[in-house]
């Protein structure tokens, strides 16, 4: 654990004062000193509007340089950053805002002033303390409601520093940023880690298939040497890169290309390596435990399907689940403070200091392999989706007797959402499928809607009546998914 995280961050800004931290999409640059000056300006502005240390600030905006300034402004002013992703349903956004009770909601990122005089190194001091709340990241909870995962400042700094080191980041790192800044990977892995290493971040547009056709142009132009993407981005880039020579040229400069926020399957791994000639390195993480937990070396990624080596600060053990599977438990100094609740923070459930990851796995040598998932969660396109949220929506239909939602492996999404349905007697299956589709379109955000609905005769159940989803998954045939 970093002894004094505030000093670490202040020192980084002082030491790298004149180096470029941020390259914007329109070709402008902000040095570490310039970036601090902009963030300080934002923090002063919020203070002048009555925001006090410890107050929460909701960020509900698109990726931008100003978004990143807001994170540092929170550290400078001692405020709590609460990024709220834009692709949630309005009901869940309302729920989050009610829970955090923000002193301020930022919907338009402050425009950086590039001509601003860089902050003098002597004035680079943070008001936040190591052990106070710094950021609350929302992720889909198994209950169907978003969970607010609260992190202390020192956990974010410690985790980002350790992850940066394990990923080989240094002051020569030039990382291409295309992930949503509201998620841990778009904040910690792709901004805080290169920043703490003294490197530069080259901002791209948040990834979409639209940018995939010409994905490699900017990394090539900007001599990017580090790229962090998701399995779905890797799949889209493999399918839509039209100038593969340009891709190979851009990739030839890369020291590290990582895939995070979702299980990387072997089809994408091998396709990426074949097309671009560079391995895609897996990175496993859990927001509750500080974000990234492992990273795979480039050589290992050519031949292995492990998720790589674990951050040196972590302790891992395996404990048997009720169904005799080996679940991974981790003890981390970067553990969250807990989940945000109406009446405070609910700490993580620990056993001897270890937290259950909900994932199954094993070690071979010092490499971790994730072999399955114990918890009921679907990861589609890097986004955690709680099946129960979808089950609750579909279950309200009169024509549905019962519903169980599972994830099925998919080359693009990582997992697809399949709603398995028991219909009430006499229902027309075709009509029911249409009704489910319409109902989900009304009540669920786009990325939570089932990719397919499959009508079944029965569900495999345990003695207590619980649906055995592993068996259910096996009963879904390829025909069902066409």
């Amino acid at each position: 654990m970093t002894a004094d995280a505030t000093s670490v961050l202040e020192k980084r800004f002082r030491d790298s004062h004149d180096s470029v931290l941020l390259h914007t999409i329109d070709g402008k640059k902000l040095t570490y000193g310039g970036f601090w000056a902009n963030a300080k300006r934002v923090a002063d502005d919020w203070r002048s509007q009555g925001v006090r240390p410890g107050d929460k600030i909701a960020f509900h905006m698109e990726n931008s340089p100003g978004f990143l300034c807001c994170y540092l402004a929170c550290a400078i002013g001692g405020f709590v950053a609460c990024p709220v992703t834009r692709d949630l349903s309005s009901e869940n956004i309302d729920y989050i805002l009610k829970l955090i009770k923000p002193a301020k909601i930022i919907e338009a990122a402050p425009e950086p002033i590039f001509e601003l005089t860089p902050a003098p190194a002597s004035e680079m001091t943070l008001e936040i303390s190591d052990i106070t709340m710094f950021v609350i990241i929302f992720t889909s909870g198994t209950t169907g409601r978003p969970k607010g995962i609260v992190h202390r400042f020192e956990a974010i700094i410690g985790s980002a520093s350790s992850f940066g080191k394990l990923s080989g980041m240094d002051d020569q790192t030039r990382l291409y940023h295309v992930l949503p800044m509201t998620y841990m990977a778009g904040f910690l892995n792709t901004f805080m880690a290169p920043l703490l290493a003294g490197g530069s971040v080259i901002l791209g547009n948040a990834f979409s298939p639209i940018s995939a056709l010409n994905f490699w142009q900017r990394p090539d132009d900007e001599n990017v040497n580090t790229l962090i993407i998701t399995p779905s981005i890797a799949a889209a880039v493999c399918r839509l890169t039209r100038d593969q020579d340009a891709g190979r040229r851009a990739v030839s400069n890369m020291r590290c290309i990582q895939s995070t926020a979702g299980q990387l399957n072997s089809a994408i791994r091998s396709q990426f390596l074949e097309i671009f000639g560079h391995p895609l390195q897996d990175c496993y993480g859990l927001t509750e435990l500080g974000g990234p937990l492992t990273t795979q070396g480039p050589d290992d990624a050519r031949y292995e399907e492990s998720v790589g080596r674990v951050l040196p600060e972590l302790d891992c053990v395996f404990r048997q689940t009720s169904s005799d599977e080996d679940e991974l438990w981790i003890r981390s100094p970067f553990l969250m403070m807990g989940y945000l609740q109406e009446d405070g923070i609910e700490p993580a459930e620990l056993s001897d200091g270890f937290m259950a990851t909900g994932d199954l796995g094993l070690f071979q040598g010092d490499k971790l392999y994730i072999t399955g998932r114990g918890k009921d969660m679907i990861v589609r396109g890097g986004v955690n989706i709680a099946p129960i949220m979808i089950e609750n929506v579909i279950g309200k239909l009169d024509s549905v007797e019962d519903v169980a939602v599972v994830g099925i492996q998919h080359d693009f999404w990582g997992e697809r959402i399949i709603a398995c349905i028991l219909a009430k007697e006499g229902m027309d299956f075709k009509e029911l499928t249409k009704e489910i589709r319409r109902h989900c379109a009304e009540h669920l955000p786009v990325n939570h809607r089932p990719d397919r609905s499959v009508i079944m005769d029965s569900f495999p159940r345990a003695l207590n009546g619980k649906v055995k989803k592993n068996e259910l998954r096996e009963q879904i045939t390829d025909n069902d998914l066409e």
């Binding site: 298939p209 056709l213 010409n214 839509l240 039209r242 990325n447």
Partner: protein
């Protein structure tokens, strides 16, 4: 089958229940997600023997059936 008809058919094959205007934004109205866009690009390229480039995405018309049909027609005739 002209470009518009082919596109309407393509959307119907994905979801026979789909109903939206040919000048509606098919991503904003939820008819297509990002994977769907990938599949649409591949389908258009394969069927019309053309190659899309990033330039076409600068054109907001790409995201309506009507606009995309025009883009495809221009690509086919090389105009």
């Amino acid at each position: 089958m002209n470009e518009t008809e082919w596109l309407v058919e393509w959307f119907r094959n994905r979801d026979e229940d789909v109903t939206f205007g040919i000048d509606e934004h098919y991503v904003e109205n939820g008819a297509l997600d990002s994977f769907g866009v990938v599949e649409l690009i591949e389908g258009v390229e394969q069927n019309f023997s053309i190659q899309m480039d990033e330039q076409v995405f600068q054109d907001p018309n790409f995201f309506t059936i009507k606009g995309l049909a025009e883009i495809i027609a221009k690509k086919r005739t090389g105009t």
